[in-house]
């Protein structure tokens, strides 16, 4: 068993409580951080090659250095805990099982960046995570890790847990800021970026849960150590998820440089008996679909791009040979249609039309020209919207057509779906209706 970091407390009973967390070395990184100045910490984070774990992979230290040092108004830290990318379920574990580690990371970030207030924006549905975080925040206040004059350093930082209202789009950082301000989660145009004009018009850093939970390890062991734990340009340990018709679905901390095949076989236990792998999505439903010939690709930003997809959140969804790829594309299109905030016409209308056309093909009512029509729709959505949700439907839909074209053709030619149904009555979701 390799040494674990992000998940080291997952199996320790009551590690979510302050007493147990501290018994296992908790808040030592914070005590060390407050002996360092902000620039030194930002430097360590830069050296660590820590990249955003929410899917986009932006280098954390560089993002931090965009935040203005001087500000007339209080600066904010916002944690994106609105985990909702289909196939992704790692941040929940960090919040439910090791909330103090996350809070410690928040306090270190605030100290380093001169931030006065922080909000952890958690999906409203995740009541268990919200309660764990709130209880941990309360304990941290009582112990003097939060509030006024933290550790006698004359440093004030208040941290709040904020429940979302239920909207995938709030996972987009500016949609999240809008949601936090009490508005509909409709993303903003960028620039200005949140580091300059963010929450309440003030300079704001938005980081993913896992990104911030990694910060204490960087302080504890140094940026170079963290970088060495990873691969080139992508430092540190990482949580991966594996799901689908496999033997041991779940969240696992694995070494860097691990391949998809190793994740599936060593951690996921392989496919369920009698199921054969047909395709996989490396890091959430917005990523392009890949076939088993790409199983030896390394789980990294560059390597996944070379394989024709993206690392995304690092939570892999596996699909077996009984799975109809037209239906998967239709189901995902319905998801994006349901979650489109409605602000940009190409996304609002395009996701709906793509769903209708894909449904028609799946139901055996497709026409040969529909595939070009879908590809055309994808091109018209991609790049033409305020946020990346539009791209998030265009990229996968295009990839399913390109990689599994013969399956789409077969549906159209035979006038039916040749695969076993997901249910007796229903083809797909009625949520999008």
């Amino acid at each position: 068993m390799e040494e674990r970091f992000l998940s080291r407390n997952f199996d320790i009973p009551n590690a979510h409580t302050l007493a147990v967390f501290e018994k296992h070395g908790g808040y030592q990184a914070l005590k060390r951080a407050v002996t360092m100045d902000g620039d030194s910490i930002i430097n360590e984070v830069k050296k660590s090659n820590l990249r955003g774990r929410g899917g986009a992979g932006f280098p954390c230290g560089i993002k931090w250095s965009f935040l203005p040092k001087e500000s007339d108004v209080p600066k904010y830290l916002v944690i994106n805990a609105d985990e909702g990318e289909p196939g992704t379920f790692k941040d929940r574990y960090l919040m439910e099982l090791d909330p103090h580690r996350h809070i410690e990371g928040c306090i270190i970030a605030a100290w380093a960046l001169g931030i006065r207030y922080g909000y952890i924006f958690v999906r409203g549905e995740m009541q268990h995570a919200i309660r764990r975080l709130e209880a941990a925040v309360k304990e941290a206040y009582a112990k003097g890790y939060l509030g006024k004059n933290i550790l006698g350093k004359g440093f004030d930082f208040d941290l709040y847990v904020h429940p979302g209202g239920g909207a995938y789009i709030c996972g987009e950082e500016t949609g999240l800021i809008e949601g936090l301000e009490g508005k509909s989660g409709q993303p903003r145009m960028k620039p200005p970026f949140p580091a300059v004009v963010g929450l309440f018009q003030a300079p704001t850093i938005v980081n993913n849960v896992e990104t911030i939970s990694a910060i204490p390890f960087i302080i504890e062991h140094g940026g170079e150590w963290f970088a060495a734990m990873g691969v080139e340009k992508n430092g540190g340990p990482k949580l991966y998820g594996v799901s689908g018709p496999i033997k041991r679905p779940g969240v696992y901390e694995a070494r860097s440089g691990i391949t998809v095949r190793e994740l599936l076989e060593e951690y996921g236990g392989g496919m369920l008996d009698g199921h054969e792998l047909k395709a996989f999505i490396p890091g959430g439903s917005s990523c392009a679909v890949l076939t088993p010939d790409k199983l030896d690709a390394v789980m990294g930003f560059e390597t996944m791009r070379e394989a024709g997809s993206s690392l995304g959140t690092g939570c892999v969804t596996f699909m077996d040979t009984n799975t109809c790829m037209v239906r998967v594309a239709a189901r995902l299109a319905a998801f994006y249609h349901h979650e489109s905030c409605g602000q940009c016409t190409p996304c609002r209308e395009g996701t709906g039309w793509a769903t209708k056309v894909l449904d028609a093909i799946e139901a055996g009512r497709g026409r040969p020209e529909d595939l070009d029509l879908l590809l055309d729709m994808c091109s018209n959505i991609e790049g033409n919207t305020i946020c990346a949700l539009g791209d998030s439907i265009a990229i996968p839909v295009r990839s399913y057509i390109q990689v599994f074209r013969s399956e789409f053709d077969a549906h159209i030619k035979q006038g039916c779906c040749p695969y076993p149904a997901w249910t007796k009555k229903r083809l797909r979701s009625s949520v999008a209706a």
């Binding site: 985990e83 909702g84 990318e85 289909p86 196939g87 992704t88 379920f89 941040d91 999906r123 409203g124 549905e125 995740m126 009541q127 268990h128 709040y160 904020h162 429940p163 979302g164 209202g165 239920g166 909207a167 995938y168 949601g179 936090l180 301000e181 009490g182 508005k183 509909s184 989660g185 309440f200 998820g241 594996v242 799901s243 689908g244 018709p245 679905p249 779940g250 969240v251 439903s285 939570c315 969804t317 699909m319 077996d320 799975t323 998967v328 189901r331 995902l332 998801f335 349901h338 979650e339 905030c341 997901w422 249910t423 007796k424 009555k425 229903r426 797909r428 979701s429 009625s430 949520v431």
Partner: protein, 175 residues
Amino acid sequence: MALAFSEKAEVHFKDLVSRYPNTLAALLPALHLAQSEFGWISVEVMDYVARRLELHPTKVLTVATFYSMYNMQPVGKCHVQVCTTLTCALRGGYEILEHLEEVLGVRVGETSADGNYTLSEVECLASCGTAPMFQATFSDGEIEYFENLSAERVDTILADLNKRIATLPNPAEMH
């Protein structure tokens, strides 16, 4: 009768408002609180929340209807929301949904005649590693995930839920 938060909710409400530099930012958590207090988000509830936060009621309406967690119509004492997004679909989420339709005697989107259960479909709730799953939201504001489901497990869970909801108020009658 004019709406008003209970004493306990009032304490919670004041704490919420104190967390933000303006009252608008407290709107999402305040709507959650209002829903657990008053059962569902009626026009009356929106007016009340607007008044308490000193916001225009249309602002509250816009936000309440944008998000999926606020019930603009009363639901049952227990709102069962079955995830059918990709991983759950691959692991039998639709079969769970169909099974629930049969045992609860309702179609998706409907509430049982006794007002106990509403059955819905929901999009990904980050339980892909424990799929299939449903989320149960109770009229007292509690939310619980039920994961690694099978038809048999659903039957056992429902037997427990029946007991649990016996003492809960019916959201339609909470204001």
